[in-house]
């Protein structure tokens, strides 16, 4: 099975997975085609794929490929 790097760890990659699918898998929140969460809140995360930012409007349109390096980041405590 093909794999990707997701937040620094190896993860299996199912065929047809999009960036939006990964965001849902990591955050547990469904994502609309606009990139906004289906629950109407603010998602507060950003995605970099192979060191390039994927704008949220492109999450549903961007396919994840084998060996991609995907980082999903959010706000945490910091000074």
């Amino acid at each position: 099975m093909s794999t990707i790097r997701l937040n620094g760890a190896a993860a299996p990659l199912a065929a047809g997975t999009t960036v939006a699918d990964l965001v849902t898998a990591v955050t547990g929140r469904a994502i609309l085609a606009t990139g906004q969460p289906a629950d109407g809140g603010r998602i507060g995360v950003a995605v970099a794929r192979n060191a390039d930012i994927v704008p949220r409007s492109q999450w549903s349109l961007t396919a994840v490929e084998t060996d991609d390096d995907v980082e999903i980041v959010t706000a945490v405590q910091g000074g």
Binding site: T27, V45, A48, I53, V73, V76, G78, G79
Partner: protein, 269 residues
């Protein structure tokens, strides 16, 4: 009286008016609940966050206030100021700022480019480079800088929205090591000056304001205090007190005593 002054004396950065001149960091708090209480007690309207990998239990996500830092800030109507903490190069800092803009929908960024993990002091060369790049990309840069009047002015000329000189190295609580430099930075600045880092206790924040700073940014001094909520409230008052004192105009220092009671009209005793 205090209420009147604080509401009419807003800190304006990038056209946004902030009612409090205390900017809080969120680093070092042991729990999200405790942090929320301290933020509310501080009266802050602007709070820094770091950008890190999403992980269950790190406050990630935009969910409820109970589980997420972003949710907590949204719920309390506190504006978010993402930082670039942990970046050593301009390239990393620019990438982190872009991620923050995408995640948090703000073009404000506290630019922090440090030289090494031991001193955590800003790397002036990378800082200048990153400021230039971020300004070109439309960011409003809050530049965390050394207490160097020359560098501070250079950052302003590059387009920084605010300059944030350190009082002392991050997390030391040593206060303001070079008040003369801070005064000099303030006297020449055309953008807000925010004293950032090194604050240990309330009097340090009051001094920063008395020196003419427009605001104070601190985190550790509250989050690692024995009673963070009480310390947050202390800082709230210290910043207001220091600001009022700066506006009021202090008496000159004198070498010799000067009686405030008249000698005239003393009774014979």
């Amino acid at each position: 009286m205090t209420e009147t002054i604080t509401t009419t004396d807003a800190l304006v950065i990038d056209g946004v008016a902030l009612g409090s001149r205390l900017i809080m960091g969120t680093g070092g708090a042991p729990s999200l609940d405790g942090l929320g209480a301290a933020l509310v007690a501080s009266g802050t309207e602007l709070t820094t966050v770091a950008m890190r990998r999403y992980a269950a239990g790190n406050g990630g996500g935009g969910g409820d206030a109970g589980t997420s830092l972003f949710g907590l800030l949204l719920e309390n109507n506190i504006r978010v100021l993402p930082n670039t903490a942990g970046c050593f190069t301009a390239r990393e800092a620019v990438m982190t700022a872009e991620l923050a803009r995408e995640a948090l929908e703000t073009d404000w960024v506290k630019l922090e480019v440090i030289a090494d993990e031991h001193t955590l002091l800003p790397d002036a060369v990378e800082l200048v480079e990153a400021t230039e790049q971020l300004v070109n990309r439309g960011f409003k840069v809050f530049a965390y800088t050394n207490d160097d009047p020359v560098l501070a002015l250079r950052l302003e000329q590059l387009g920084a929205a605010a300059v944030m000189p350190l009082g002392a190295p991050i997390g030391t609580g040593l206060g303001i090591l070079n008040p003369h430099n801070i005064e000099l930075i303030v006297s020449r600045a055309g953008v807000p000056v925010v004293l950032d880092a090194g604050i240990g206790t309330a009097s340090d924040a009051a001094l920063a304001m008395e020196l003419g700073c427009d605001a104070v940014l601190l985190a550790t001094a509250v989050t690692r205090a024995q009673d963070p909520v009480r310390m947050a409230e202390a800082f709230k008052h210290a910043v207001i007190g220091g600001r009022l004192a700066a506006q009021a105009g202090r008496i000159p220092k004198r070498a010799h005593a000067l009686a405030s009671s008249a000698m005239e009209g003393r009774p014979d005793l």
